[in-house]
């Protein structure tokens, strides 16, 4: 579904992605972990070209990601994205947030967009919040609304860029539950996160990044129980002890 080859990205002098190769099969859930600044968010943002890579190729569903314009917009319509800061449209209600893109991008009728939006909001457990402004919702509710908004486009794959990092601890669970449900339904997912429990529970494969490179990748139980590289062992020792 997603195929990355030889991806390089610089921010000025800083080499943030270093010859990254990644394959995500249809229906696979890949969880990307690693220390801050390891390039995992940048990798995620390169996949739908919110960041332009400097070299290398990215194919989504066999098609190279277009550089710009309508072709790029069409690709993005098929790849959902969930952000750390939710990024719900502040001037629209939760329901309108979910309805906007299907109507404007897919040309879906208002009635149908509304029906789908209500279904999706019910699916993520916030049906009763539909008429509210995003700022009136808790962080966990906002993030679930953002997931519903992405799902409304019926994406082939979903990217999650640290979806729980901006949440109060007691709200992390409700968002992870929605994501676990999605994974169980067979959604192709790339999840950048610090939630090791989620990685162990929901991932088909864990990708460990450090210093802009993919250092280690493996099936979650094997990775967490016996990482094969020192850097991964080091990282896990730090995050799993507290």
């Amino acid at each position: 579904m997603i195929r990355v080859r030889g991806l390089n990205k610089w921010f000025g002098e800083h080499h943030v992605l270093h010859d990254v190769d990644l394959d995500v099969a249809r229906g696979e859930v890949v969880v990307v972990i690693g220390p801050s600044g390891s390039g995992k968010s940048t990798l995620c943002r390169c996949l739908n070209r919110l960041e332009a890579a400097d070299s290398g190729e990215i194919l989504v569903d066999g098609v190279p990601v277009p550089e710009e314009g309508r072709a790029l917009a069409r690709l993005r319509a098929d790849v959902g994205m969930v952000f750390q800061n939710f990024n719900l449209f502040q001037h629209k209600t939760v329901l309108e947030n979910v309805m906007l893109a299907p109507m404007k991008v897919r040309g879906v009728s208002r009635a149908e967009a509304e029906r789908t939006a209500h279904e999706l909001l019910a699916r993520v457990g916030i049906a009763e919040q539909a008429g509210k402004q995003p700022a009136r919702l808790s962080g966990g509710q906002q993030q679930r609304a953002a997931i519903a908004r992405a799902l409304a486009m019926r994406p082939k794959a979903m990217l999650f860029d640290e979806p729980t990092s901006a949440l109060d601890p007691e709200m992390v669970g409700e968002v992870l539950d929605v994501m676990t449900g999605l994974a169980a339904d067979g959604m192709t997912m790339v999840v950048v996160t610090h939630e090791m429990g989620f990685a162990r529970r929901a991932a088909d494969r864990v990708v460990f990044m450090d210093g802009g490179r993919i250092v280690e990748t493996g099936e979650p139980n094997a990775f967490f129980d016996s990482p094969s590289t020192d850097r991964a062992r080091d990282f896990l020792a730090k995050v799993l002890t507290h």
Partner: protein, 214 residues
């Protein structure tokens, strides 16, 4: 006082022209401002440059100079239009640069995540600007745009210098007959002040109504 009351029809006529010019050039300026800001924050380098040059040029020239150049220069190159129409177009182009800058500060005030989220959903740059970024940007710049509206109202008086008989020119004509500048121009000033006060009232109402929880 009688100097004022005896000539009410002339004043009224002038005020009507001022109001027409204000309305028409504000609508034009808003359209120009929207186009320029879309070019300026957009992804196409050529358009960004064109828009920047436009804003810098028009903001750095006095409106009076532009009016005189247009009124006397355009007929030279075969472009002929009525005086009032020419003045409206020039004022619209000039104030459009200011509106573009006000809108741009509004766009910059909106978190970049809003546009990213819109584009990540498959909206084109234009759609994300139109449905997500600009509606929010507009809400944050109601007050500055109200100020531009007031400045534009006052700036229509410069058209008097190129022969448009709006409120200031009408007052001037009456003064040539009556030679009582103080009551006559105080009267004209009050009329401008009334227009500005209405604009201030409307922007205040709009600002409260459009406020978005964040």
């Amino acid at each position: 006082m009688s100097a004022l009351l005896d000539h009410l029809p002339e004043f009224w006529q002038g005020l009507v022209v001022t109001l027409q010019m204000t309305a028409a050039s504000f609508v034009g300026a808003a359209a120009v401002g929207l186009v320029i800001v879309a070019m300026r924050v957009g992804p196409v380098p050529v358009l960004r440059t064109v828009a920047t040059v436009y804003v810098e040029t028009l903001q750095n020239l006095p409106l009076l100079v532009l009016l005189v150049l247009a009124v006397f220069g355009l007929p030279e190159i075969g472009l002929k239009a009525g005086l009032t129409t020419t003045a409206i177009v020039v004022i619209a182009l000039y104030e459009g640069a200011y509106i573009a800058e006000a809108l741009r500060s509004g766009v910059n005030a909106i978190s970049s995540g809003q546009g990213e989220a819109a584009r990540a959903l498959g909206l084109t740059f234009g759609q994300s600007l139109r449905h997500v970024v600009l509606p929010q940007a507009l809400r944050t710049v109601v007050q500055p745009i109200g100020n531009i509206f007031i400045a534009l109202t006052m700036n229509t008086s410069l058209a008097a210098a190129v022969g448009v008989v709006e409120l200031t020119a009408a007052a001037n004509r009456v003064n040539l007959l009556e030679a009582q500048p103080i009551p006559i121009f105080v009267g004209a000033g009050l009329a401008y002040a009334a227009v500005a006060a209405c604009a201030g009232f409307v922007t205040g109402r709009l600002e409260r109504r459009l406020a978005v929880a964040r």
